[in-house]
Symmetry: C2
Subunit: 521 residues, 2 copies
Amino acid sequence: MNVEAPIERRRGGRAARQAMRAAPIPDAKRPVRGGLESGRYQPLTQTEIEKVHHAALDVLETIGLCDAIPSCIEVVTAAGGHVDPNGRLMFPRALVEDTIAKAARGFTLHAQDPRHDMEPWGTKTYFGTAGAAVHMVDAVTGEYRDSTLRDLYDLARLVDAMDHVHFFQRMIVPRDMVEPDAMDINTCYAAIMGTKKHVGTSWVLPEHLESCFEMLHAIAGSEEAWRERPFVSMSSCFVVPPLKFAEDACKVLEVGVRGGMPILLLAAGQAGATSPAALAGALVQEVAEVLAGLVYVNAIKPGAPAIFGTWPFVSDLRTGAMSGGSGEQALLMSGCAQMAHYYDLTGGVCAGMADSKIPDAQAGYEKGYNHALVGNSPANLVYESAGMHASLLGACMESVIIDNESIGATLRTIRGIEVTEDSLSVEAIRAACLHGPGHFLGHPQTLELMESEYVYPVVGDRDSPKEWVERGSTSIVQKARAEKERLLSSHFPDHVATEIDDRIRERLDIQLPREHMRPGN
Amino acid sequence: MNVEAPIERRRGGRAARQAMRAAPIPDAKRPVRGGLESGRYQPLTQTEIEKVHHAALDVLETIGLCDAIPSCIEVVTAAGGHVDPNGRLMFPRALVEDTIAKAARGFTLHAQDPRHDMEPWGTKTYFGTAGAAVHMVDAVTGEYRDSTLRDLYDLARLVDAMDHVHFFQRMIVPRDMVEPDAMDINTCYAAIMGTKKHVGTSWVLPEHLESCFEMLHAIAGSEEAWRERPFVSMSSCFVVPPLKFAEDACKVLEVGVRGGMPILLLAAGQAGATSPAALAGALVQEVAEVLAGLVYVNAIKPGAPAIFGTWPFVSDLRTGAMSGGSGEQALLMSGCAQMAHYYDLTGGVCAGMADSKIPDAQAGYEKGYNHALVGNSPANLVYESAGMHASLLGACMESVIIDNESIGATLRTIRGIEVTEDSLSVEAIRAACLHGPGHFLGHPQTLELMESEYVYPVVGDRDSPKEWVERGSTSIVQKARAEKERLLSSHFPDHVATEIDDRIRERLDIQLPREHMRPGN
């Protein structure tokens, strides 16, 4: 009757298995890593992809975008665009198609530590953060407070320590940085000092980016070294949906492109509010907007690296509020990943936003199904995948650690089921049934595969109810809090030499105190 | 900078949208329902499916199963099987292939209320419960206590009220029923009185099932009426992996098949413990075992309805304990769904088990990614999808309500993105940008689609942080508790006439007091 209940304890091979588990897993044998080939989930058919593509070209050719800045109009018209009588910048089909054909593809996203370099093309998938939350969430009390620069640095450090989070785009706005230039410069500084992984961030005005280039060149060693391995990309909200250019963002974008910085071309309409309520229509508008950005970038500098950043968000149409945790969200982002893949461009989408304000079961399932589906679509870069709540209004440190588990499990599903003569295991079954102990616990195949075939959680709990009660009946939030405290008190990437940091601090108004950047702070 | 943050409030059309939302949604316009066509997630290629198939046939032909009971040997050898010198029952390839060709397909799983009938074939997908948990979990305190008959009845009532849970298989063992016959009979009674949806349960001994047939015939009106619309299926653990028949379960199965009851042929090995650690090998063994069951059922009664119930579970190989919430679990179940689909048989797999002991964020993400991937595989019946914790050792009422949300979102992803001339929305985009208000909130398309394109949560929270704090900073567990109390005090299916219930209570030892079965209990 009770065969469905688990086997809690078994004899045979347990001591050997536990001994193996005590040793760290060598990199090559790890069950999952960034850059696994994905794409086994495909919500759109090839015909549907082509229909979305043609509709997007129609939108660009016949509706175009308004509010282009003069420098944008200049380069895009030189490339083959034109301005219509209403002042809208129009993108003829041939221009867009030529751009797609010639755009940069197969470019590495570098990290300060080359071990974390990413190759986000084809169907290779990486997970990272993003966001511009204005609050930090206390995982235990649910309190929302203003986010600070130190939070940003600490979030970067946590991400640096997460096995399954492969890049760090800034998650919060440091609200203690009152002046926009201080905000931009310190955001960039705190992010790149907090992690050796690839960083993404954004700038309000082009001057702020110019200042940051000094910092980036100093850390790289020279401008040439930076241009060879740019380890920071720009999250550019160059468009305000529907189909309107954002003036300041475009100015910043131009400086970034010329400075050799990869650009995440981000169109973030909300279906039913700033883009159509029909999911297919939301896709069409996002694709059109990002294609316009792609033309713009390539008109500034042919072949400049750009990420196809279609981020169609969902509205709860009862209130107009955003719903980043919905199932519709998973569909939209997966469909966008297919569009970027169709163009053979590096695609950046989102998954793992939660509507829930706190890391409760709701946040869990919202993140779980979004991670799983978007991760298994042909997405290259999955943003917003860790730490976000309240549809991006809040960030939570414990959630970074919790979400790392959901992403790790998702990566395992992306890896899939290897089917080989060995893995089919007919001889292992024969041995166990005909000549063996009637189980597989001590079988050589089991011992060999226990590290490489299975992902084990860090804070996820697999104890039996009895053991769990004996160990204090902890929720995952409590375990994540302990892990956060351990990491924040011990994990300091500390990868930039003091003399370089001195130089940066001499020239720029860095407001993150040095004493926060070492143990005992 | 802050474009990634949500739009919290918008003018335009809000009053109209809220008025529409106040009206109930007619069934035909509901955004999701049971039986949506699925299959956009396919972890195995066609070649890999065929390799698993051939390996399973090898296992059946050359290893076979041990411990077959005489009546099983009799019917299977009469059909073409044979017993090898070691006493193992062997299934030649031709016998298995013939069985697959002739087995029942396209049979309805009936419900007491025909509105809940299921047509689980092709790629149509339904979600339901299952399990044999021995504990009930208090969602707030985390306390584990023995499960009771009344819990079972209450769980059935909750499932009856859930929009996205389409059938009820018994989730717990009523531990207050000490005698096996009382347990079996009262389990069946409590389940079928608690819900008008299709019910699954199981029996320890054939006599218990014979007694229950009296009850089922009485409720159906006659034996003929029962056989025409059998509304209860048998969850049969006819095999103890690896490849050993379970004597009592086989005896019960034979009575069920002859009594016209659909059989869920359940093989539930644990990878690395009772089946191979290699995921592909775990698939092979499960498929072989269930194919053996299929031969057995068809040898008893050709064309008898049987569900291809491959339930390969995952072990945490560090301890041997089951891990139902892992990513590996989602892969295995999705692969099994593909195997049943390959055979064009009704497939029953699991998704939504959690290792977490309580409905916390861990339970959420474990259920979320399992629902999403298994739901989008070509699974027909997804068992264990609501309410289960501690890898099936515990059941939780609040979790039924919480998991209903995750399943609802998953159903929306299964429905997919409709791509039509209208939904591509080029004209809606043109109108909004060139002639309209520059947004889509009041657009006729938005008003038309807000009910049919989007799923809205019942207990999932989409308030802004400010509203959420004003409303008491509740977690989803607190909201689910309130909803549970509301439903348990008000929702009594009450679909069996008192005189029929009287008749059942005269003949069988029913221990669920009548006063528990009406409001005010």
